[in-house]
C-alpha cells in the first residue's frame, strides 16, 4: 500500500473519532438546554412576585432611604460580577462575555471608578489569573447547573462589600441572556444601587396601600437582599442555558466540519487508491509486453 494512502486512512480515522466526541457533546448540550430552560421557567413565578412586592414597597416608602437604593454621592469603586462557564467547548461564549466585561471596565474607569472584578466560572477565573488581575470574589463549579444557594452566596458577598465603608459603591453584572435556542446576547446591567425592573407592563396600576409587618423599613431590609439574590439567580440561570446553547452550536459546527473533512479525505483516498491500481495495471501490461517483445525477438 502506498504511503499516501496509509496517511489518508490514518487521518480519516482520527477525524472520525473527533467527530464522535463532538457529536456526543452536541447531544448532551441539547438535552441540557431543555433542562436549563425548565429551571428558568420554574424561577419565573418567584421573580414576578418578588419584583411586584419590591415595587409595591418602594412606591409607598418614597420617604424611606434604604442604603441599597441610594446612589453614593462620590462613587469611588465599582464591583463587576462576570458570569462565565466552567468548561470550554462553547465557541465564543466566554470570549464574548470577557470582551464586554473589558468594555465595561473601560467605561467605568473613564468615569473615574476603580473596577473590582467578581468572577463566576473557571474560564473567567483562569483568564484573570493569567493576566495576574486581582479578583475580589471567585466562584466556580456550578456554571451549568446553578442552585439558589449559589446565587445567595454571591449576593451575600456583593451586598456585604457594598455595605462596608471603602468597599464597592456600585455593582454591575455581565452575563449572557438567553433569548432563544439560536440567540443569546451579552447583557450588562447595574444591580446596585437598585433599579427595580418591572418584568411585565404595569397593567394593575398603582399597587394597593400595604400594611407592613413589622414595619416598612424592616420589610425593605429583608426584601431587597432577596430581590438581588433573585436577580443574580436569574443571571446565573440564563447564563447556564446560554452556555449549553452556545456549546451545542459550537459542537454542531465542529461535527459538520469533521464530516466534511472525512468526505474530502475519502475522495482523495479513493483517487490515490485508483491511481495505484492503474499504475499497477500499466506496470503489469508493460512487463508482459516487454516479455512478449523479448520472446518475439528470439524467434
Amino acid at each position: 500500500m502506498g504511503a499516501q494512502l496509509r496517511l489518508l486512512r490514518r487521518r480519516i480515522r482520527s477525524v472520525k473519532s473527533t467527530a464522535k466526541i463532538t457529536r456526543a457533546q452536541e447531544l448532551i448540550a441539547s438535552s441540557r438546554i431543555v433542562k436549563a430552560q425548565q429551571r428558568m421557567q420554574a424561577a419565573v413565578p418567584y421573580e414576578r412576585e418578588i419584583t411586584h412586592a419590591v415595587s409595591a414597597v418602594l412606591t409607598h416608602t418614597a420617604g424611606v432611604d434604604h442604603p441599597l437604593t441610594v446612589a453614593k454621592e462620590r462613587p469611588a469603586s465599582a464591583g463587576v460580577l462576570i458570569v462565565t462557564s466552567d468548561r470550554g467547548f462553547a465557541g465564543g461564549y466566554n470570549a464574548n462575555i470577557l470582551r464586554e466585561a473589558e468594555a465595561l471596565k473601560g467605561h467605568l474607569t473613564g468615569r473615574g471608578l476603580t473596577v473590582k472584578p467578581y468572577v463566576v466560572g473557571r474560564k473567567g477565573l483562569t483568564w484573570h489569573r493569567f493576566r495576574s488581575r486581582e479578583m475580589f470574589g471567585e466562584w466556580d463549579g456550578f456554571s451549568d447547573k446553578p442552585s439558589y444557594a449559589d446565587a445567595k452566596e454571591i449576593a451575600d458577598a456583593l451586598i456585604e462589600s457594598f455595605k462596608v465603608e471603602d468597599g464597592i459603591d456600585e455593582i454591575h453584572v455581565v452575563y449572557t441572556g438567553f433569548v432563544s435556542m439560536l440567540t443569546q446576547n451579552v447583557i450588562v446591567k447595574r444591580i446596585l444601587p437598585l433599579e427595580v425592573e418591572e418584568t411585565e407592563t404595569p397593567s394593575e396600576g398603582i399597587p394597593p396601600y400595604y400594611e407592613f409587618e413589622p414595619t416598612a423599613g424592616d420589610v425593605l431590609d429583608t426584601l431587597l437582599p432577596r430581590y438581588i439574590e433573585s436577580r443574580i439567580y436569574n443571571a446565573l440561570l440564563q447564563s447556564a442555558a446560554s452556555e449549553h446553547a452556545a456549546r451545542r452550536r459550537a459542537m454542531k459546527s465542529a461535527t459538520d466540519n469533521a464530516n466534511e473533512l472525512i468526505r474530502v479525505f475519502t475522495q482523495q483516498m479513493n483517487q490515490a487508491r485508483q491511481a495505484e491500481i492503474t499504475q499497477e495495471i500499466s506496470e503489469i501490461v508493460g512487463g508482459a509486453n516487454a516479455l512478449a517483445d523479448a520472446a518475439a525477438g528470439k524467434e
Binding site: 413565578p45 439558589y148 429583608t222 439567580y233
Partner: protein, 133 residues
Amino acid sequence: MAKLRVGVVSPERELWTGEADMVIAKTVDGEIGIMPEHAPVLGVLVEGGVLRVKRDGGADLVAAVHGGFISVANNDVSILAEKAELGSEVDVARAKDALQRAQASIEADQEDADARHKARRAAARLRAAGEEV
C-alpha cells in the same frame, strides 16, 4: 364568599397554587390569619415557620417555610419562601435525624447559632409533616 387565590413559590419552583378559604402563616410579629377581603399586607415570615392553607372539601395544605414573605392584596396571597417544602414531601426520618443532631450540638455548645437554626428548620419540617415535636 370570595375565595383567596394562593400561590406558594420558592426561587427554584412553584410549590402550589390554588384557591383557599384561609391562610395561616407565622410572621416575625406572630401568627397571622388571612381570610378573603383582608387588607393588603406585606409581612416578613419567620425562619422555620409552618404555613397552613385551609381549603373546603379537602385536607389543609401544610408546608414548612424557611424565611421569606407573605404578600396579600385583592384576595391574592403569595408566599415567597427562600426554601419551602410541602408537608407531604417531608422525609420524616431524615428531619428527625437532623433535629436530633442539631439538638445534640446545642447541648454541647449553647452559643451555636447555626445548630439552633438547623433545629428550628427541622422542627418546622416535622410539624408540617404532622409529627409532634
